[in-house]
Structures are given as C-alpha cells and as structure tokens.
Symmetry: C2
Subunit: 530 residues, 2 copies
C-alpha cells in the first residue's frame, strides 16, 4: 500500500502539524512516565511520535494521546497500516503513517512494545456503572464486558485485542466514537463496530474512565477480594428491569439484578460470583486449566442458551444417566471441576462448592423449582442438511474462531498472564469426560454463543461442522478411564456424539491424550500449605 | 355406675339374645383363629362373649364382631364401662356390659388382652385411596393418618388408641359411623368425633378395608420398601386440587400431590419420603430417639405452621446465626439428626441426605426460590398477656398432652414396638441443641399443631405456658457442650428463650442431662456391618 502515495510530501505536512501540536502541549513530567527500561536504542522516527505520545510513548492524559508503551508490536503495525490506508481515519496519524516505510513501522512498533510501562499507582476507583459495563457487560444486548476480550485487567490479549489499561480516557472514548461513526473500521469479525454502536454516550464515558484508571500493567483498582476478606459490593443494576440479565424470549425467567447484600450470606454469594468469574484465582487448587465458569455459562451464568445457572439450580437434585444416580446440585458442580476444568472436585461442603451453590441460588431467586424450566441447558440446533464435516469445520474455525482460541485451539492468555480465551483442545482444554465432548452439546453451545458476542449468527450447518472439528482433537484423558480406550468408550462414550475412541486421521482419539496443562500442578504447589 | 341397674334382669335378656345370635352364626374354624396361648384359664363370663366374638376372642369378619384378642385391658374395661353407662350405645353390648360387675370386666379384659393374636397371613392389598387416608391422612381438613395415633401397623398405642389391625371391616366402619352419629362418645379430647364427622362414606369404607387387611400383630400388607428395593408407588391425589397438602391461607404455596414417578429419581424421592415418615427404620444408624421427621413437620413436611419442607428447600443455602456460616440445605438436614433426633449427622453425600433433599425438592416443585416464602418455619404467636408460667403449663399438659406424650413426657411406643408419640423430655427426646429448646419456637409449634389434629385450638397463653413447661425439663446434653454448662449457655443459649443453664426447682438444667435413650446404641449395633 505504500506504493500508492508519496511519503515525503506527506511527511512535510506532518512535520508542520506536529510542530504546532507540540507547541500546545505542556511539558510532561519525565519522572512519572519514564519506563523501566529506557536505555534501548530509539528509532529515528520515534521523534515524530514523541511530540504527542511522549518521550517514552507514555501518552498524554490531558489531550487523550494514547500510550504506546507495551502495546503489542503486531497491533501497532496493524494500526499504522490502517491509518495509512484510511481504514482508521485520523488527520494527524494518517499522513504520519503514510510517511513511514514498512520497516520503520516495525521498528517503531517493536520499540514501543518493548518499553515496560511503569505503574502509575492507583487511579480513581471506577464508578459502579463503569465497572458494570467494563467487567460484566450488558448481555441483554449481547455486549460482553470489555475485559472478556481485553483481559481482566485490561492488559490486552494477543494482537487483536489491545491493552486498554492506562490509556487516556479521552483516547478510549474517541476510539469508541470512531467505531460508532465508522471512522475506525477493519477489526476482525466486526466485533467492535457492532458493540460500540450500542453504547450510549454515558456508556462510552464509563468504560473510558474505568480503563484509564487502571494502571498500565497493573491491576484493576477495584480488584475483587480474596476469599475470606470483605466482599466487593456488587454493582447496582445498570440495566432497566425487564431487559436485565440475559433473558431471551417471552415467559423465560430473568434473574433479578439486585445488589448482593453486604452480610454473612452476601459474602459467600460474592465469593461464589468471584469463583464463577475466575476459578483460577479463587479456586485454583481445584482447577487444571484456564477455563472459567463463564466460558460455558455466559453472562456470569445468567444467559439463556449457555446453560444458565439459575435454571440448573432449580433442576437438581436429579437422576443423571452420566453416573447412574441422583446428583445433588453440589455433586453436579463437582463434575464441572473434574471434567470441564480438568481438575479435582472440591469435597462436598468445601467453601468453594458452598459459594457456587449460594451464588446460583441467589440468581435463581424467584424462579420456580422446576426440572423442566424454560431456558435450561443448551438450545439444541436441528441436525443440519449435510452431515457435519471436519474439513468445512476447519475452514470456519480459521475464519471465526482462531482469532480468540488460537490456530491450534490452544487458547490465549491475557498479556499479563491472566486467563483469556479458553483452549478448545490439547492439554489445557476440557478433558474427554466433559459434556462439551458431546458434539451435539458443542454444536448447541456454538450456535447460541459463538463467535463471542455474536451468538446466533452462524448457520446450524456451521455450528455442527465446527463442533465436529473441535471435538475431533485430542485432549486430556477421561478421568473415568477404564483401563483401555475401547473399554472407556464402551462404558462412557457409546453413541454417535462422542469421538472418543474413534479413529481420526489414523489416530484413535483418547489414545494419545496430551498430559494435562500445568495449571493444576502449579496451583497444587502454590496451595500446598493450604 | 353398676349400682344403677339390675344386672340379673339384663343378663336374662342378653342371654336370650345371644342364643338367637349364636344360632345364626356359621361355625368358625378354630384352626385359623386359635391364639398361640389358649391354655390360660377362661373367665366364666367369657362364654357370653364367645357367642359373638369367637371362642378365642378372634372376632367375626362376616358379621363385623370385633376381635378382642390382644386389645389392651384398660381399653376393654373402658369400653365396657362406656357401654354400661350409654356413652357408647349398642343394643347387644349395653345390657351385657351392665350385667357385668367391675371385677368381671377386669377379668374379661385381662383374659382377652393376654391372648396373642395369630397372624392371619396377608390380606388383600389396600387400595390407593385406602392407604392415602389411613397412612397419610388429609391434613387440608386436619385429619391425620389413622396410623399416626394407632401405630404404623395399626397395632394401637397405649390404652387410648386401640388396635385397628385385623378388626373386621364391618366393625371398624360401624365404629366410625357411631362416632359420626354420636352413639359412640367420650373419647379423650373429642379426637375421633371430630375426625369421623369429616369422613365420607367412601372414606369410612376405605380405612375400614385398609386395617381389616392388616394381620393383627402383623405388618401392613403394603409395607414400605427397604432402601434399594423397588419403591412403592405413591398414592394418587385423593383430595381435590387446591385443597391438597396442608396449604393454608390465600396465596400460600401448596405442593402438588402427584404420584412419585417410578424411575431412577423417583426411587430416591420415595426413599426420602420413607425416611421422613420413619427415620428409625430407614435411617436408623443416624438417629438416637424415636422422633420422626413428621413429628415436627406434619403432613409429611407439607403443612404450613410446622416448618414445611418445601419452604425450607427454597430457603437454603442461607446464613445461620446458630453456627455462624452459610448452610446448604444438606447441612441444615444434618442439624436435625444431630439435635432433634439426638443422633449423628449423615455425612454430606450420604444416600440418606440425598434422599431427603430429593424428597424436599419434589415437594417444592413449582414453588419460587425465595428465602422469604410465605409459610416458611413456624408461625410465631404473640407474647401472651401473662408471663408464661410452668405451673399453668403443667396443668394444661395433664389435660391436653399427657394422653399421647405420657405423664412424664416419655412418649409412647406403639403396641408392636414401632415409634408412636415422641418423648418431649428425658433421654429419649430432642437434645439441648435442638431448635425446639427455644421456648418461642416450641410455643409456635404447639399453637399451630397441638393437640395433634386440633392445631389452633389452644390460646396463645396456653401455648406459651406449655412450651415453657416442656422446655423446663432435663434432656440429653447439647452436642456442642463447651466444657461447662455456663460456657455452653454463654456460647449457644444466651437470651430469654432457652432454659439451658437456668435453675429450675433447684437444679440447673443441662447439668443433669440424662443419658441418651437406647435407640442410637441399638441401631449402631444393628448396623455395625453396614
């Protein structure tokens, strides 16, 4: 694309503009923004950037010029290209980006990416409304919490989901407005454009304030408490009654979205919610991968179409063919740890189970006790016209899924190491005993919920093809392993919907299960004295 | 009363009548009815009885003449007196009874009481409607199941509640009709008169058939299954929708009274119901006394005013000040075993707890999940005008309670040894940790439910006086005993409503707790190989 314009001419105009802008800017205090590693060699072109983005790429809160420190290089290069070709429109950046050669872009991006941001110290605490949208989203309009794609501390995930933490509020707000107005485009799957267009001015301001207050590279100022400490008061309802909480369709129960009380019961409910959002942090010794409860139960367990927890709560005790006896709700929860989280079931009565049961109870208040409650489980799509096909599934996966879950289904952690998008196969994913191994379940989940925030947009055929493709990969062994793959299949996997024990590309699935990921061992070690 | 008539004259008439009757009766097969111990000396007057009641007092099914074998002597003497003075009117028995002297009555009664009835072998199985009324009652009209006062096998309890098992159906029906018509009266507290008057002709026939089919001294033909065996199908609803199941008042939830399904879940629900009705039999290794779940939770846990289980189910998990943490429903159930049943809590996940949770869930179907559900717990009566008084309570106890619970609060077993009326104090009662130790709770329970089947008839003052009187007696030690009565009181019993650690008649309650009754040891021994 660089061949389409004349860099020098644009560079002249840009230089003049930068001089003007620089003269308007108050000097920045270097001591507050100097990165931890400023000694690396500075690309020549960085001088132009520094005028607005600061000497160390620290950005400018007052003017809203974004921080570049620590932004992923691939993301920065992509943005410079987008400025250059007009996909992202900005009167200052467009000519500047057009003036840079491809190698200059890479140099600049590598430079700023390598600078480690200093923690600015705690910012102002976010308001309740800020946190509600940033952390939990508004699923009644299919808006996920920002952190669900940008990392729990806004540290960003991979190249496609840039860090938000510590960016100037004005910059963040301007970007959301740019998505709204179409002057910023080109993001994968059109994710941001659709979401931004549903945000009110107050929403934009709220999330911009929220992330600007998080130290870059630091933790969210209103970090959730550790178990046993005082709970974080839950946000008040930010959505109108009747639209809250993922209710879909007439006559379907919608859990009340009232604040969790600050009392003895409320503390346990809040702990349950924290575990639900982040089992690695709050129940680490029982989990063996990075899945969260919210990975399968969207909107913190509220959403119809993703096995909402209020519906599960009123459906147990129940007889389960899976294990041939009546399961209490607590035992059902144990199954999630053992299979989906590839971990260890907390013992009955463990505070982790009591908290999750309490949180689910809290959500279910007002729902009728009813094993057939509308909205329970997944919404099964009809069998597609064509038999599900792995090859078609692989293509669709590359187009729609790999962005978040990785080309090899390995998932993606956030840039600060916190759990990001879950692995779909391999050692870090759910094991062969999980419900999602059932292709029909997986197809149902995918149809209702994937791509994330765009549930319902895939065809039934795509959902089935994807489910087959995903579940035709190796994953950790079934914990009920009965001595041989054949015996295990006969006992637990008979039927059309499990690929366990089936031959795929010449290998029998289940016979080369990868070792489980390091999460369980890591947490077992960390909590050895617990 | 014998002084008011002329025995000889009546005896002449009676003799003539008996001769007539005897000539109409087909000879009875002695082999089928001869008691196990026929060798005892026969009172002279028994010849007159034998004409109708059979050579061994075995009764006559065809004519409905009742069985006398094994009937408690006190009961028989009482009935002869009632015939004599017209409280119980019968053209044959009245002149006969009037002809007997007091000592003859005692001789006859002792004779028949001592004859042990032979088991007649299984009778015809009772119909669903029969069992519904006989076993469970119809609490929407305050009608308990017959077995609840006459023993689970109809073997009778004490002198006041005669055996029903094996009596001719015609006799039983005639007695119920006599209560209805007022030709049989004089029973304590007017219990039978009120109940009988609410029975339809079909009801009368049903319960008469039910008990006539139970072998005298045997077990009910439709005995509930032992755990693990196929469940007994639950009776279909015998009451009209809307009046079923103990619902009281507008807007209060009424559990559906549909049959328990005959499937994997239904088996566990039915086991829970069986435990609820008879924990000694179905969960014996965890109970330390003869209380049943239904002792405090009437109508099998359905009744408003006696802490209905459907309301409890939708109220947990909840924080309990009693133990300072959030309790799941399963943990709450453990408390009943530990305190009210003075036993051992089944471990979490034990089939006993799973079954009770499943049964409670079953009852709660359709109820909203709601910690404030109408009908939860006990209905607290207002504080009475006068301070509660033990002396007044003692008088009321003698008048209203001792009939069933015994003069010394020791309870009464059925004549066949099965649990009857629960002990209210002493070693066989609930221990000092039970909720019923709280005088306000006890007053609430008494007001709503006592005398049995006559809930709501006591004044608030009587309920409080009775509660204070009952709870001012010694009982098994609080399992949370903290080294001294003072320390235990300070930790668990502070406040006005517990007498634990208080001085009563010069003795500090809790300091002379009787040893627990033998039930726990007995069952521990019986289930040692379990």
């Amino acid at each position: 694309m660089d061949s389409n314009h004349t860099p020098l001419k644009h560079a002249d105009a840009a230089t003049a503009l930068l001089a003007l802008l620089a003269s308007l800017l108050a000097p920045l205090s270097a001591s507050a923004v100097e990165p931890k590693n400023p000694q690396q060699s500075v690309p020549t072109a960085a001088a132009a950037c520094a005028a607005c983005h600061g000497q160390w790429g620290e950005g400018n809160v007052a003017t809203g010029f974004p921080r570049l420190q620590g932004l992923p290089a691939v993301y920065q290069v992509g943005q410079l290209e987008a400025f250059a070709d007009g996909t992202r429109q900005n009167p200052v950046m467009t000519p500047l980006a057009q003036s840079l050669s491809a190698s200059e872009r890479v140099q600049l991006a590598d430079y700023y990416a390598a600078l480690v941001a200093r923690t600015r110290g705690p910012g102002s605490a976010p308001s309740t409304h800020d946190e509600q949208l940033a952390v939990r989203g508004r699923w009644s309009e299919d808006i996920p919490g920002c952190v669900q794609c940008h990392g729990e501390n806004g540290s960003g995930i991979g190249a496609a989901f840039p860090p938000l933490a510590g960016q100037p509020a004005a910059y963040l707000a301007a970007q959301l407005q740019a998505w709204q107005q179409g002057t910023r485009r080109g993001e994968p799957l059109g994710l941001m454009q659709r979401i931004a267009k549903q945000l009110s001015a107050m929403d934009v301001s709220a999330v911009a304030d929220y992330f600007s207050a998080i130290p870059a590279g630091g933790k969210a100022p209103a970090a959730a408490p550790v178990p046993g400490s005082a709970p974080q008061a839950a946000p008040a309802a930010a959505t109108a009654p009747g639209t809250a909480g993922g209710a879909r369709g007439q006559g379907v129960f919608a859990p009340a979205d009232t604040p969790i009380p600050d009392d003895g019961f409320g503390k346990v409910i809040q702990l349950g919610r924290n575990i639900f959002d982040n089992p690695v942090r709050y129940a680490g010794r029982y989990v063996g991968n990075d899945l969260r409860c919210t990975s399968c139960h969207l909107d913190e367990g509220r959403r119809v179409g993703s096995a909402p927890m209020w519906a599960a709560y009123v459906s147990y005790p129940a007889y389960r063919a899976k294990n041939g006896h009546v399961n209490t709700f607590a035992e059902r929860l144990q199954g999630c740890f053992r299979y989906s989280m590839n971990g260890r079931p907390p013992p009955l009565g463990d505070p982790v189970l009591v908290a999750l049961e309490s949180y689910s109870y809290w959500m279910a208040r007002g729902a009728p006790v009813d094993p057939n409650i509308a909205g329970r489980g997944y919404v099964k799509p009809p069998k597609p016209a064509l038999a599900p096909d792995r090859a078609r599934g692989a293509v669709a996966y590359g187009e729609k899924c790999a962005l978040c879950h990785g080309e090899r289904g390995e998932g993606r952690s956030a840039n600060d190491g916190s759990p990001g998008f879950p692995a779909l196969w391999g050692g870090d994913s759910y094991n062969w005993g999980a419900g999602m191994v059932n292709v029909a379940n997986a197809a149902a989940f995918i149809k209702s919920n994937m791509p994330f925030s765009q549930g319902g947009t895939l065809t039934d055929q795509e959902a089935w093809d994807l489910a087959l493709f995903v579940d035709a990969h190796e994953r950790p062994q079934d914990p009920r392993y009965a001595g041989s793959v054949e015996a295990t299949r006969a006992k637990f996997h008979d039927g059309d919907n499990s690929l366990y024990g089936q031959s795929v590309d010449g290998r029998v699935l289940g016979s080369h299960s990868p070792p489980p990921g390091g999460r369980l061992r890591e947490h077992a070690a960390a909590s050895a004295g617990n």
